[in-house]
């Protein structure tokens, strides 16, 4: 069966954008010997990969589309 690679890529990127938009709150361990903040530092989360740029661009266009009309996303 011939599949369209663009279709697969687009559906994957859409799910990744959704994941990126939902903020995940990591638990902060304040008691015990191993006190630490499980949240990643901003430098670690800052993505410089090309795919991250693609997701950012997609996010921007989606917000522009939402402004145009209420697109269900």
């Amino acid at each position: 069966m011939i599949t369209n690679p663009a279709k697969n890529m687009y559906s994957k990127a859409l799910s990744d954008v959704r994941k990126k938009n939902t903020k995940k709150v990591e638990p902060v361990k304040k008691t015990g010997l191993l006190q630490r903040n499980m949240q990643q530092s901003s430098e670690e989360t800052k993505g410089n990969e090309p795919y991250d740029n693609v997701l950012d661009a997609m996010n921007q266009i989606i917000t522009e589309r939402k402004k145009l009309k209420n697109v269900s996303f």
Binding site: P5, A6, K7, M9, S11, L14, P50, M58, I62, V71
Partner: protein, 174 residues
């Protein structure tokens, strides 16, 4: 001879791909846009140009999915040596979003290609009807007939006044 056998004989000779001189095709050269950012800017300029917008909205109206359009666009650019195929695959989702933005702005109904189609055997697609209409128009133009876009309304039939039948029977008054 069957179609399969015929297509076998039309296949390229093994090693034919190596007979061309190296560098004779655009994709054998370094790409014009090496990074994803550069490629995105290239597509943004191209898709937002007014001529392209008009053409692409026509294609969208025919019912071609946006993912198919995006794939064709990026493959064409790879063949022209604009960017590599891996950059093209990475950029594809952005192209789909740009195309959907153009479609939204133009008010065109489009399909992204991710929708599940409910196949109804009795329902004919609008795109098929449009294509059939176009073919019929071309045939009629070839035959020298004039094509009327809007069908003329049939003249309303004159209502016949009911003819009173002559009373019959024993009790009929004359």
């Amino acid at each position: 001879m069957s179609v399969f056998e015929e297509s076998m004989f039309n296949a390229p000779i093994p090693g034919q791909g190596l007979t061309e001189e190296l560098g004779s095709t655009p994709w054998q050269h370094p790409p014009q846009y090496a990074t994803v950012d550069e490629a995105m800017n290239f597509y943004a300029e191209r898709i937002m140009s007014p001529n392209f917008k008009e053409d692409i909205t026509d294609v969208m109206e025919l019912g071609v999915p946006l993912t198919t359009l995006a794939n064709a666009l990026q493959l064409g650019a790879v063949m022209q040596g604009k960017h590599t195929i891996d950059v093209g695959v990475l950029v594809t989702p952005v192209i789909v979003e740009m195309l959907s933005y153009v479609g939204d702005k133009a008010g065109v109904e489009y399909s992204t290609g991710l929708e599940k189609e409910d196949v109804d055997p009795n329902k004919i697609k609008d795109s098929h009807i449009a294509l059939a209409m176009q073919k019929v128009k071309q045939k009629m133009e070839k035959a020298g007939e004039t094509v009327e876009d809007s069908p003329t309304e049939a003249e309303p039939s004159q209502e016949q006044e009911p003819v009173e039948e002559a009373p019959t029977g024993l009790m009929a008054r004359r």
